[in-house]
């Protein structure tokens, strides 16, 4: 008797889970049913912003072949909502009222865009006793956004933005998080007039320190995005279109400023879709609470993965329960690792414990503006500096060390936070090769060179290690094919070999690929005996 697995949610993490489970499905060990609310099949949400500005096609967003899964025997119900989980009977209730039995239930319901409190916008109903029934309007059932206002989460949102970009409209992005900055930079690059409105001093404040944020803001302005800081949005002003509908006209800020535009793009973070779980009596915090085996705290038959999963150890019996630490990462990498791991476990493979990774690296997807960051980067170089410089004190605690490089004029900024030489956080703006190396070092826990500036030189124009060396040094190689040095050629020249051909006969220089004959001539000119 195969085990019945029901997956709720067919986004990129759900799709990955399905793919990884296919061998067990084909082997007849697992009977898998997938219920997804979106009517389109799983696509790569990470690239929605690129699609929204027309940089890529809809089909480039596809990441899985549902037909392959169907051929393997997976039942896929798209455009279908789940309205209840009945844990005692081990069934889920579908939108139309059907009951679907499960032995294991995997929730990959993802997250929805946060809708901020603004005059003129009805806040999303957060009624945890009534999950959405209509799959088309799962997140906005009773409160559709007004015309000219959109979030950027799904394909429909992306198409709204795309129409605005193509129509040459002015776009106001509210929120300077990663997605807000990405869409603003991409829209500006696609030729749209774009501004970003945010309430703090610098953008991406969750991931970047002040220096990096300021550098990014500067680069964004240079890329044609108006960066409007210190602006707390309070309401929306509308205009009435010719057809009588109300459309967004301007964003109203607390200081009285009005920022006009044609499309307001809300980019104020996301919140996990947890109401199904909460309704079923599962523990919920920033997401559905699961332990490090992705099993829900309350029910060993229910699991959660991806943006809806809040991974934190189950509290000890009898221990006081505070607010659980952490939150879903909101990044795809950890979601995919969870999908891989859970599929292996449900397939009966002896999986090693889900490796605890360091915090994930956040990278801005924007052409020409390079930003990468990870870990805690708030510490400044002189904060509680001790001579121990990152080594453990006698009592066992350790102080992180900070090394920093700032060159705002050229849009470059790097901060490396280390503990005993290992990166615990970094931020890197405008230095792509350095960012790539720091990313690898961070993820692999590699020790940084004691001379941190080694890492800054990758992006320098001099980064051709030996190009600064003297091309006429006696030990510099001239002919690679035959391993002939300047010294050997100079020696042969002294012995009277004054032409490239003679040098070839005497030293074999230039007798391989022949590419160095020009250089042999130069060496000869310099070292030929003076008549």
């Amino acid at each position: 008797m195969p085990e019945r697995v029901v997956l709720v949610g067919y986004g990129p993490v759900g799709a990955r889970f399905v793919e990884e489970l296919l061998p067990a499905v084909r082997a007849g060990a697992i009977e898998l049913t997938v219920v997804g609310a979106e009517s389109s099949e799983a696509y790569n949400r990470v690239l929605v912003a690129e699609y929204a500005v027309g940089h890529t096609d809809r089909e480039s967003l596809e990441i899985t072949d549902p037909q392959e899964a169907r051929d393997a025997g997976v039942r896929i119900l798209t455009g279908t909502s789940v309205t209840a989980i009945n844990r005692t009977r081990q069934t889920v209730t579908l939108g139309a009222g059907d009951q679907l039995p499960y032995d294991r239930l995997v929730l990959a319901t993802g997250a929805r865009a946060n809708i901020p409190t603004l005059d003129g916008v009805t806040r999303l109903r957060r009624d945890r006793t009534r999950p959405g029934v209509d799959p088309e309007t799962l997140d906005s059932a009773d409160a559709p956004l007004p015309g000219g206002v959109t979030a950027l989460r799904d394909l429909a949102d992306a198409e709204t933005v795309l129409a605005a970009v193509r129509g040459g409209q002015r776009i106001v992005v509210l929120g300077a998080g990663v997605l807000g900055m990405e869409i603003a930079l991409a829209a500006a690059r696609a030729g749209a007039e774009t501004c970003v409105v945010y309430h703090g001093e610098t953008p991406m404040a969750r991931s970047l320190d002040r220096g990096a944020g300021a550098t990014l803001a500067r680069s964004a302005r240079r890329a044609g995005v108006a960066m409007i800081d210190h602006s707390r949005a309070e309401g929306i002003l509308f205009r009435t279109a010719e057809d009588g509908t109300r459309r967004f006209d301007a964003l109203l800020c607390a200081d009285g400023k009005q920022i006009g535009g044609d499309l307001l793009l809300l980019s104020c973070g996301v919140g996990a879709r947890t109401e199904l779980a909460a309704l079923a009596g599962l523990d919920v915090s920033a997401g559905i609470l699961v332990d490090d085996t992705l099993q829900s705290w309350a029910d060993p038959r229910v699991f959660a993965i991806g943006d809806c999963a809040h991974v934190v150890s189950r509290p000890q019996e009898g221990a006081a329960v505070g607010t659980p630490s952490g939150a879903p990462s909101g990044l795809i990498g950890p979601g995919w690792r969870q999908a891989d791991w859970l599929a292996a476990r449900l397939s009966g493979e002896a999986a090693a414990p889900l490796a605890e990774r360091a915090a994930s690296v956040v990278m801005l997807k924007a052409e020409g503006v390079d930003v990468a960051a990870a870990g805690d980067v708030r510490r400044e170089p002189w904060d509680t500096y001790t001579e121990l410089g990152g080594r453990a004190h006698a009592d066992g605690c350790a102080t992180p060390s900070v090394a920093q490089w700032a060159d705002p004029e050229h849009g470059r900024y790097v901060k490396m936070v280390t503990l005993a030489g290992i990166l615990t956080g970094f931020v890197c703006v405008g230095m792509p090769r350095t960012a790539a190396e720091l990313t690898l070092l961070f993820e692999r826990g590699g020790e940084l060179p004691a001379d941190r500036s080694v890492l800054l030189r990758f992006d320098g124009p001099d980064y051709v290690p030996a190009s600064g060396a003297d091309a006429f040094a006696l030990d510099a190689t001239v002919c690679w094919c035959n391993g002939v040095s300047v010294g050997a050629i100079a020696g042969a020249a002294e012995e009277g070999n004054t032409t490239v051909a003679c040098i070839g006969s005497a030293t074999r220089a230039g007798t391989g690929c022949g590419g160095c004959k020009g250089r042999i001539g130069e060496v000869l000119e310099r070292f030929a005996p003076v008549e």
């Binding site: 990129p12 790569n44 990470v46 690239l47 690129e50 940089h55 890529t56 096609d57 089909e59 480039s60 967003l61 596809e62 990441i63 899985t64 072949d65 392959e68 795809i332 990498g333 995919w336 690792r337 490796a355 690296v361 990278m363 801005l364 997807k365 052409e367 020409g368 390079d370 030489g421 290992i422 792509p432 090769r433 960012a435 790539a436 190396e437 990313t439 690898l440 070092l441 993820e443 692999r444 826990g445 590699g446 020790e447 060179p449 004691a450 001379d451 080694v454 051709v464 290690p465 030996a466 690679w480 094919c481 035959n482 391993g483 074999r508 007798t511 391989g512 690929c513 022949g514 590419g515």
Partner: protein, 700 residues
């Protein structure tokens, strides 16, 4: 300068790598001197190895008579008669006692086509054993498997080498041609002049340096991330609408699955995994699609991995997505390394293969070849096991008890060298054919001295699939025999059916007949025709003029379409903190296990000992100075060598050449884990720790 009449000049080719540079060998009073000869591949150039190659003919180390292991562990000379009788007796006895598959044969990618063919025939007909494979499993098997799967045919370069000259963009992944086959570099000039040479290598190798000064771009990914890099490039090609949709529709199948499979490799994620910045990825993708002649070439750096077949497939998929393969101006190729690495993989020394690149499991192929050999198809054994499995079965229950080694030095070249040494020591009987006491020969019971390249006739098939003639310029020392002669004598003693000629021209004719109708069809060729100077690119069926450029009209699958096989990159756990990734490779001065080049004084003087390259910042952390003695270690073994500090390598990577033996042998560290499709070992991503060796002060 006048040439003395006593001198005779012979046109031949270099003994070493697959470029097979043309040489003129001049015999003056019994000593051979080497001259460069103009030829499309080497254009009159030779590297240091080629110039000095004749020195080995008269090397004092040369074995000039059969040597037999003595009870005291030493070796003593014996007559050919006695040595061959002993070998035949032992082979017969082992076979009678333990079955035909207790005898294994290990061939090499440096053997001529004639020898490789005869070795396969000898194993299956005279020994009746399925247990044959060769050292090409360590180099070409992944690219070969990928090529066969995608195109229905594997010819390293399915175009002429000189065609590269017209290209404006060449993407070279994991190949250091400037050191391994230097005259090749001349063919990169066109791309360099157009600023389009892109070299992917964790090291700033001599080849990577060719991209400097505006000639192109060097891309330096973390070792073992090539597959992710290729998937990321394919993602970009599709996302930026650079794919050739018309070509894909007309000439390939499987694109839809590829498109979906690379959906997860957007540039930022690719950067996160590879360390290659997004801007470089975008520039490469756009440059590759810019037209005007684009080639993608892979080498061992990306193929010698546990996922080597997948990586080569990803390179092929990228080439197909761009519409490069089978056109008049662009293409995909893999750079074969060993001298006859191409021919050596076509004519039956692979465990699953019969001559003509036929499958040994294919009934029609068995019938055809059995008919040429004059034996019953039923008598031919089935597929054997690939090299690493063959070697690890030595001395184990159900494994081989006897091994014949030809043109290979497995003690140095096979992965997990300690296990290979144990296995060789556990054999009942080991026969090695070589011209020197190689590290493998030192384990042998019988060592049979064989001819060197300038002492024999035959053919080689170069990296571009061109069949060329090796010619005899000098007589071998009196006690030395050709392998064809040895196989003939052994077959006779073993009472084998079929005939075994020792005349290379006759063997080649038989090879051509055996290959007829196969993928690698040589049936239109003969030594005589080759001597007329034709440029013979296979397939060369009877009545044709060969095939310089393959796939122009169709691929070799029955439907004529190329297969796009979507592959995935499995993320492996990141290396542990405090460890470094070891990559192995070659130096300009040495060739393969170094059995030959370490015996050329000029080459040995230039590179006398194994030196490990590491980054100065890494060395500083480990308190290692330039020239210091260091130890590289992991669970499999440890290597002692000398540190060479260079900023040309990534700080997380070390490089060690694999030409050295004893406790300098890089393969003491490598793993014998293999690619599931090709059987290729993982040579290029070995986790090691490195430390300075503390010299103890001696008070004695």
């Amino acid at each position: 300068m006048s040439i003395a009449p006593a001198e005779t000049a012979t046109a031949s080719h270099c003994p070493y790598c697959a470029l097979q540079c043309a040489m003129t060998l001049t015999d003056s009073a019994g000593a051979i001197s080497v001259g460069a000869r103009d030829f499309p591949t080497n254009r009159g150039g030779l590297c240091k190895k080629g110039w000095t190659s004749a020195e080995l003919l008269s090397s004092p180390d040369r074995i000039v008579e059969p040597m037999l292991r003595q009870p005291d562990g030493g070796f003593a000379a014996a007559s050919w008669e006695d040595a061959l009788d002993l070998v035949a007796d032992r082979l017969s006895a082992l076979r009678a006692e333990h079955g035909a598959d207790s005898v294994g044969v290990f061939g090499g990618g440096g053997l001529t086509n004639e020898k490789a063919y005869q070795l396969g025939k000898f194993t299956r007909v005279a020994l009746g054993s399925s247990r044959i494979d060769y050292n090409g499993r360590f180099c070409m098997s992944s690219a070969a498997a990928a090529g066969n799967r995608a195109f229905g045919l594997d010819r390293g370069l399915p175009f002429r080498l000189e065609d590269l000259g017209a290209a404006e963009t060449i993407l070279l992944l994991g190949s250091n041609v400037a050191q391994t086959m230097p005259p090749f570099v001349a063919h990169l000039e066109g791309a360099r002049a157009a600023g389009g040479l892109i070299v992917v290598d964790p090291r700033r190798s001599a080849t990577a340096r060719l991209t400097e000064d505006g000639a192109g771009m060097h891309v330096q990914p973390a070792p073992g991330t090539d597959l992710a890099l290729l998937l990321g490039l394919t993602h970009l090609v599709i996302a930026e609408r650079l794919a050739d949709r018309e070509y894909l529709a007309a000439r390939t199948t499987g694109f839809e699955a590829l498109r979906r499979s690379v959906g997860e490799w957007w540039p930022e994620r690719t950067q996160e995994h590879t360390g290659v910045p997004v801007w470089q990825l975008r520039e490469i993708a756009r440059r590759l699609a810019a037209g005007r002649g684009t080639y993608i070439l892979t080498g061992r750096g990306v193929e010698q991995h546990e996922d080597g077949t997948a990586t080569a497939t990803a390179a092929i998929n990228l080439s197909l997505a761009l519409g490069l393969v089978g056109t008049a101006h662009s293409g995909y190729g893999t750079l074969t390394g060993q001298g006859n690495g191409q021919g050596g993989r076509e004519h039956g020394q692979k465990c699953d293969q019969l001559p003509g690149y036929r499958k040994i499991t294919d009934g029609a192929a068995r019938e055809h070849v059995a008919a040429v050999w004059g034996v019953d198809p039923q008598s031919l054994p089935g597929p054997g096991v690939p090299a690493v499995e063959l070697l690890s079965s030595m001395g184990r229950a159900g494994g081989i008890r006897c091994l014949l080694v030809h043109g290979s030095n497995v003690v140095v070249s096979a992965p997990n060298a300690s296990r290979v040494r144990e296995g060789l020591a556990a054999l009942d009987f080991l026969v090695v054919c070589d011209f020197f006491f190689s590290e493998t020969a030192q384990f042998a019971d019988v060592v049979l001295p064989v001819t060197q390249w300038a002492e024999e006739e035959g053919t080689m098939t170069s990296l571009e699939g061109r069949v060329i003639r090796r010619r005899r310029a000098i007589d071998p020392p009196p006690g030395v025999r050709s392998e064809l002669w040895i196989l003939r004598e052994l077959a006779r003693r073993l009472g084998s059916p079929s005939t075994f000629s020792d005349d290379p021209a006759v063997v080649f004719d038989e090879l051509c007949r055996a290959s007829e109708g196969g993928t690698a069809d040589y049936s239109g060729l003969s030594h005589e025709l080759l001597d007329s100077g034709v440029a013979a690119y296979w397939p060369y069926p009877t009545g044709s003029a060969g095939t310089p450029r393959l796939f122009l009209d169709r691929f070799a699958h029955a439907d004529g379409l190329a297969r796009i096989v979507a592959v995935r990159s499995r993320s492996s756990a990141p290396p542990e903190s405090g460890t470094l990734t070891l990559v192995t490779g070659r130096l300009l001065e040495h060739y393969q296990s170094g059995a030959q080049t370490r015996r050329v004084p000029e080459l040995a003087a230039a590179q006398p000992v194994a030196r490990v390259q590491l980054h100065p910042a890494t060395a500083d952390r480990l308190a290692i100075t330039d020239g210091a003695e260091v130890e590289l270690a992991n669970a499999r073994g440890s290597v002692r060598c000398v540190a060479e500090l260079t900023p040309d390598i990534r700080p997380d990577t070390v490089f060690l050449p694999f030409h050295f033996a004893g406790d300098e042998c890089a393969n003491l560290l490598t793993s014998d884990a293999t690619d599931p499709v090709s059987g290729m070992p993982e040579f290029k991503r070995t986790i090691v720790t490195v430390r300075a060796v503390q010299r103890e002060l001696s008070n004695a």
